[in-house]
Symmetry: C2
Subunit: 339 residues, 2 copies
DNA sequence: CAAATTAGGTTAAACGTTTTATCAAATAAA
DNA sequence: TTTATTTGATAAAACGTTTAACCTAATTTG
């Protein structure tokens, strides 16, 4: 059997309370006793049981990670990276991540993630947009929580957010700087805050450049952002307008769909049409031509979220802190000077 | 405060023991009592505490997932998918996955993953090759374990393995069927069992086709499989032999490196050289030309591993069962008939 | 110098379950 | 009818920690 706190206490000739206090760095214990106990802990290779600890102290060492099932699709590259970022950081900080999905149309009667019901977590990271119904229920529990890439309109929460507006400006200005004037914006799900901010950035840049605005160049719907949706939107765009010379797609997945449409319809990229995406997913480098895009530091968003959450749990940060992560223009081969 | 077993017991007018027995489906309890208790459980929305449960019953509901740090590189697409597969299945089966990495050169004195030390797991999944030193230490703990994509030479363990030999045969036969005779095999890390099996399949197919064997066409080293390594091996190959018309790369990452070399050196794929990979990672579809490959069901390997592990934990399966997952030839555009 | 405070530790209760032994009542066997 | 067995439930110990309350000896304060 593995050693318990009793074994340590006996061998060190102190009470188990003393061992516990040493374990938790309590200052009541003298240097010598502390040293003595730590030595025994080392020789016995003792480690406190998570379960026992969790039972009394309500610290489990687990962080929940929640996202909607459609964001956890097997092909969704974005939140998977954020998740990996949380894994990296959690490991550094001696925590574990428990992953759960909820339905995108979460109903009041739906069960909560199991780690919540079983009180098997210390705090929660929520990635991407989740339904208000879920947020409402969660708010009753009054639990440390950090939202990543989503800022719920109800309530004050901690956030790790992308500088979407800036990204939108960067992308659009890049196209403008290469001489383009007929710049389209393609992005489904326009009621999604992040997408909307990117569109806002686009509009700002267009306006700043004194290019006359043209709503026909803005193609949105309320569909989930996907390759197919990008393809469909491109089709709609080119049915309306033929003289588009550049396209800003709201994310890379969409951009890849747009690219497919362009190829299928004999438009050359970037010779005929310049194309820029958003996110910088791994695939961007491999597609032909490599995609110009706005890089979002996905892994870092995950690590930031974990740091922030742990700080909130330990009361080292207020529970409504906002972190905006910067974006960066990555110029590859899908954008060029206008002919 | 959340309800406890006591609240349920009181409300149902039974002892807490009875509630516990109902919870665990013990047959000693009569149908009526069971029904009565379950009703209270429902109305109170009661869920047993993981910590309390884990403390006494040694069931935590957590499964450990271990791989070496180099396999968890941020660009490694293979084991990430296996991991996601375990996540999917774990969720279905009401478990959580705790992820940990160990050093690829794990030393006896290195600390074990924290969930092991804290006895916060029910079983372990080990993905890919891990050092013998680690396996030795782990074997002392006598714990349910399933190896994925690796079959340690010491001891009898449960495995989920790829049908690598068959895959190697499939890939090579595909090239042969398209008229190729000068078929190279490129794959670093030849001392890795899986890679070695793929090479074995290659040799078998060559032999069956009565093509004369040529060791100059087999390029291996002991480096970790990577894009760069693929590039380097291709370079070595073409320094030696110019008349190669087809290449079988030991995995897709390597193949992408090989492809880069070919492009850099003005070889056209597939016109000049046919190229086939192994794994079928997401990138394959996006690269130009889309890569012919042998598909390995990565997600499914994860789900199989979880199923097997849970069965072993519940004594529904012997602890040394082997599962071989099938592979499938996926023909895309990187292979063609010889000119 | 007496009283008050502090330093350094211990005792014992508590956390929320599972499980072994036990028990009473009902039923079956002799 | 008495005895043995079965059924269905309970009491209480145990799991391995944390922590509030307490204690004693040493030190400080007035």
């Amino acid at each position: 059997m593995r050693p318990t706190i009793k074994d340590v206490a006996k061998m060190a000739d102190v009470s188990i309370a003393t061992v516990s206090l040493v374990l938790n760095n309590n200052q009541r214990i003298s240097k010598e006793t502390r040293k003595k106990v730590n030595k025994v802990i080392e020789t016995l290779n003792y480690h406190p049981s998570r379960s026992a600890r969790g039972l009394v102290s309500r610290k489990t060492g687990n962080l929940g990670f929640i996202l909607t099932d459609n964001h956890f699709l097997r092909t969704e590259p974005f939140y998977t990276r954020v998740f990996l970022g949380t894994e990296f950081e959690a490991r550094e900080r001696n925590h574990y991540i428990l992953l759960s999905t909820i339905a995108a149309n979460f109903k009041k009667s739906d069960p909560l993630p199991r780690f919540i019901l079983e009180r098997n977590f210390d705090g929660i990271i929520i990635a991407g947009r989740v339904p208000d119904t879920f947020i409402n229920i969660l708010s009753n529990y009054n639990v440390p929580v950090v939202f990543v890439d989503y800022n719920p309109s109800l309530g004050e929460y901690a956030n790790v957010l992308i500088d979407n507006i800036r990204g939108g400006v960067l992308a659009t200005e890049h196209l403008i700087s290469r001489g383009h004037k007929n710049i389209a914006f393609i992005g489904g799900e326009s009621n999604h805050p992040s997408i909307n901010e990117r569109l806002q950035g686009y509009k700002t840049a267009i306006q700043n450049a004194k290019i006359k605005n043209n709503d026909n160049l803005i193609i949105t719907n309320n569909e989930f952002l996907s390759r197919q949706n990008g393809y469909d939107c491109a089709e709609i765009l080119f049915k309306k307008r033929r003289k588009v010379t550049a396209i800003f797609a709201a994310n890379d997945t969409t951009a890849i769909g747009v690219l497919q449409y362009l190829k299928d319809n004999k438009y050359k990229v970037p010779e005929d049409v310049s194309l820029i995406g958003f996110d910088d997913v791994e695939a961007d480098l491999l597609i032909d031509p490599p995609l110009t895009t706005v890089r979002v530091p996905k892994i870092e968003m995950g690590t930031e979220a974990v740091q922030l959450l742990i700080n909130i749990i330990n009361k080292k940060s207020i529970a409504a802190k906002k972190i905006i992560v910067p974006v960066k223009l990555i110029v590859r081969d899908s954008t060029s000077y206008i002919n």
